[in-house]
């Protein structure tokens, strides 16, 4: 077996109130894909930021190509051949693809004048090596998320990277895009690049990786060979207990209809969508990424304007609402992407949670701190949020824990209908089941719940009824016995296989 190209030993990193990394040792061999897994806040991103020169470790050593090295800043890391593909993409939308690939390391003459020809040519070479369909002069802002990710990965060719780190790269990719990403990763692997792959998705990890290292509370629990283990064992290492492969489905009685949608259409996005949901019911929306599910619920919530369609809310017909009206009616939407979910990053978790509902936490105009605190504690426990306290700015929380505060923020509003768009994206396996339980509790308390998910077991596990969507159309509705993976796949693929009607 090849010697490691990169070895970390005894890496320790503390932040005020947290030991994010506690004597972590980790290595990467050339040509392998090494998974790094662990709960939200376990320290995965922190460890990789140490490698990328963004954080300086308090203690420990980094051995790279047999030499102890210090990585002072991101550019130094890149020039050594260590490249981090961030959890949130790190690009300048207004600049060209070529400029982004070489950001911070543009070729110039002695006077600082850019050598645009060389920049273009080199970028083109990097793009060609990756088989990208876009050119070096395209503006990054006009590219899709998947293409933007390719721009970041193209840096691996431009800087002849020896180690490439992917931090939850598939979070916003469609299945096809994911397959392309995996092809790209395997290509890098063949070039002898050592790859670190961070993900919460077990199927991806077992499909792609050679070894798995588990982090828990900043400590390494162990490194195992992927072939010699299974998801159950890895999960146990991650959360310290076995997770029942069991979904808690709400045991509730359905009462009055809360929302009925008829013939909802938005040109170019979806057409003729009709469904209804009752109190106590969990309605699942299954489909591939890009099927139009998010667009439908955003329209319900007034974020997008529908062309056609009627809504009945608790039996009475209403005009399509604005977001403010939707909130006042008692709808809550937890959208899929963290960035637009409007966490106030400098504020603490508690203030973020109660922000949209300040009126109910104030006595006249003075905030009731005790009541706020109680809410904070309730959701911190229910969602097992890892934070040092109500005041810790959410900007310093791990990605998954930020996500959980978004959930808390909408749940504590006490809505009548809650719409959850990919509620467990970026959430670790342990907390996933906590969220599933929470969904069940909500339904049992009489709320109507709509859950959008691209994960089949999740939709089937939590929902009472599932709607399948493909290319902007509802292509099937399943209940009870009919709710099986085969039926869902059939419905969706049947539709996709048909020659396009439009």
């Amino acid at each position: 077996m090849a010697d490691p190209i990169l070895t970390l030993s005894g890496i320790t990193k503390t932040f005020p109130g947290v030991i994010a990394l506690d004597k972590v040792s980790f290595d990467v061999r050339p040509g392998e894909v090494h998974a790094l897994v662990g709960e939200n806040g376990a320290g995965k991103s922190t460890l990789m930021k140490v490698l990328a020169g963004l954080y300086h470790p308090d203690a420990g050593a980094i051995i790279y190509q047999g030499q102890p090295v210090q990585i002072d800043n991101p550019l130094a890391a890149r020039e050594k051949g260590i490249l981090l593909i961030h959890q949130e993409l790190s690009l300048s939308p207004e600049l060209s693809v070529a400029e982004n690939i070489y950001l911070g390391a543009w070729p110039t003459n002695a006077l600082g004048v850019l050598n645009k020809r060389k920049l273009r040519r080199d970028a083109q070479a990097a793009l060609d090596a990756m088989g990208c369909s876009f050119g070096p002069d395209d503006r990054v802002g006009t590219l899709s998320v998947a293409m933007q990710q390719m721009v970041e990965i193209a840096r691996s060719q431009a800087f002849s990277a020896n180690v490439v780190i992917f931090d939850e790269p598939t979070a916003s990719l469609t299945d096809t895009e994911k397959d392309q990403l995996f092809t790209t990763i395997r290509g890098l692997q063949r070039q002898g690049v050592g790859i670190v792959y961070i993900s919460h998705k077990m199927d991806e990890i077992f499909e792609l990786t050679d070894r798995i290292t588990v982090l828990r509370d900043g400590q390494v629990q162990g490194t195992v060979t992927t072939k010699e283990t299974d998801a159950t064992a890895v999960t146990r290492m991650m959360i310290g207990r076995t997770l029942e492969a069991y979904f808690h489905k709400a045991d509730s009685t359905f009462r009055d209809e809360v929302l009925r949608v008829e013939g909802l259409s938005l040109k170019g996005q979806f057409g003729d969508v009709s469904f209804s949901v009752r109190q106590g019911e969990v309605l699942g929306f299954y489909g591939l990424v890009g099927a139009g599910r998010s667009e439908v619920v955003e329209t319900l919530f007034g974020i997008r304007k529908a062309d056609r369609g009627t809504l009945r809310w608790q039996g009475a017909e209403i005009p399509l609402p604005t977001p403010r009206q939707a909130i006042d009616l008692g709808m809550a939407l937890v959208p899929e992407s963290r960035k637009e979910q409007g966490l106030v990053l400098m504020m603490g978790g508690m203030e973020n949670t109660t922000l949209p509902h300040l009126a109910s936490y104030a006595r006249r105009t003075v905030m009731d701190r005790g009541k706020e605190r109680a809410t904070f504690d309730e959701y911190k426990d229910a969602l097992s949020i890892k934070t040092t306290g109500p005041e810790q700015p959410v900007s310093t929380l791990s990605g998954g824990n930020q996500q959980k505060f978004v959930l808390a923020k909408w749940l504590c509003a006490g809505p009548k209908l809650i719409i959850l768009d990919e509620p467990t994206r970026g959430i670790d396996v342990g907390s996933k089941s906590a969220i599933h339980t929470l969904i069940a509790n909500l339904a049992e308390r009489g709320l109507a719940v709509i859950v959008i998910s691209s994960e089949m077991p999740e939709v089937l596990g939590v929902s009472h009824r599932v709607l399948a969507m493909a290319e902007g159309r509802l292509v099937g509705e399943f209940e009870g016995e009919e709710m099986t993976e085969e039926n869902l796949i059939d419905a969706v693929s049947h539709h996709l296989a048909r020659p396009a009607a439009e």
Partner: protein, 323 residues
């Protein structure tokens, strides 16, 4: 919509349409020129247009520096005060150290104050709005102390001859403005420093992650902005032959208006000197045209205010369409 074709480029406008959208201020400028040509016989004359260009030059030179700073995502409110100080020094020191050394000191004062602004912004983490607001007040105070609250006059009138150099209808002042604008456009588009300006204003985290030295970069741009303000001040003192302590008052606002009117974004990451030239000329044409029509001063202000809001509205609509 389908999953298989999802990896395609968004936004399908042709490059010509995009160019027009991104430089809509020139369309706007053309419109105002047409309107004023139709309503005043004096407007579309070589002499008048030459005058417009000269009048535009002072705000224009300030706007060049402001554009650099604004693409970085910052703002500089002290340019009017720096202009006044440089003009006062250039005239006040002439009798003691000679014309060119005095001009040089004026220039240096602008660069030094810009450097100070930049250093404070970069190192303290304070917002440039606050830092340069302090600069605006403090530097103006300095001007009053230096001038003793009275206008300074030149004694060597050869100093005021320079603005009388013309190339056809184009004054030296206007030529300097155009040359500087073109030079800085080249900096923005072709040098590493210029392109990094965009990178920083656009996504400061990405720029930081890429190892760009953000602090040094911002200090450079503030220094350039201060030096340019000083150049404008010196040219103004040559033209007037006096240095008023109140020179350039509220010019920082007109400068910001011109830059924003051109299409450069206040949030940073987007803009160009072409846009800024367009914005500066539009303001100058409006002002000149309204005066030719004998519009009362307050109406002029109202029209300018309306135009600004209108232009920004168009910008907003266009950028939404483009997205």
């Amino acid at each position: 919509m389908s999953a298989t074709t999802s990896i395609t480029k968004a936004g399908g406008h042709s490059s010509v349409a995009r160019l027009l959208m991104r430089n809509h201020i020139w369309v706007f400028l053309a419109l105002t020129v047409v309107v004023f040509s139709a309503s005043s016989p004096y407007f579309l004359t070589v002499n008048n247009l030459g005058n417009v260009l000269t009048q535009a030059a002072f705000i224009g030179i300030l706007a060049i520096g402001m554009t650099m700073v604004m693409i970085d995502g910052e703002i500089d409110l002290s340019v009017g005060a720096i202009l006044a100080l440089a003009s006062a020094l250039a005239i006040g020191l002439q009798d003691h150290i000679g014309i060119w050394p005095a001009v040089f000191v004026g220039l240096l004062s602008g660069a030094a104050l810009g450097f100070l602004n930049g250093t404070l912004v970069a190192l303290s983490g304070m917002h440039s709005f606050i830092v340069t607001l302090g600069g605006l007040i403090g530097i103006r105070g300095l001007v009053f102390i230096y001038t003793g609250e009275d206008a300074l006059m030149v004694s060597d009138f050869s100093y005021t001859d320079y603005p009388e150099i013309y190339l056809g209808p184009v004054s030296l002042t206007a030529m300097i403005f155009i040359a500087l604008a073109l030079f800085f456009q080249w900096i923005l588009s072709s040098t590493r420093h210029g392109r990094e300006t965009y990178a920083i204003g656009d996504n400061i985290d990405a720029a930081h992650d890429a190892g760009i030295n953000i602090k040094r970069h911002k200090i450079i741009n503030f220094t350039l902005c201060g030096a340019l303000a000083a150049i404008a001040g010196i040219l103004l003192s040559m033209r007037l032959g006096t240095a008023e302590p109140n020179a350039g008052k509220v010019w920082e606002l007109w400068t910001i208006i011109a830059v924003v009117l051109g299409g450069t974004r206040l949030q940073g990451g987007y803009g160009s000197m072409w846009m800024t030239i367009g914005g500066v000329l539009t303001l100058a044409v409006l002002r000149n045209g309204l005066r030719l029509l004998n519009t009362p001063n307050y109406v002029e202000l109202m029209v300018m205010g309306t135009v600004l809001v209108l232009a920004l509205l168009i910008d907003k609509l266009l950028s939404r369409q483009e997205a």
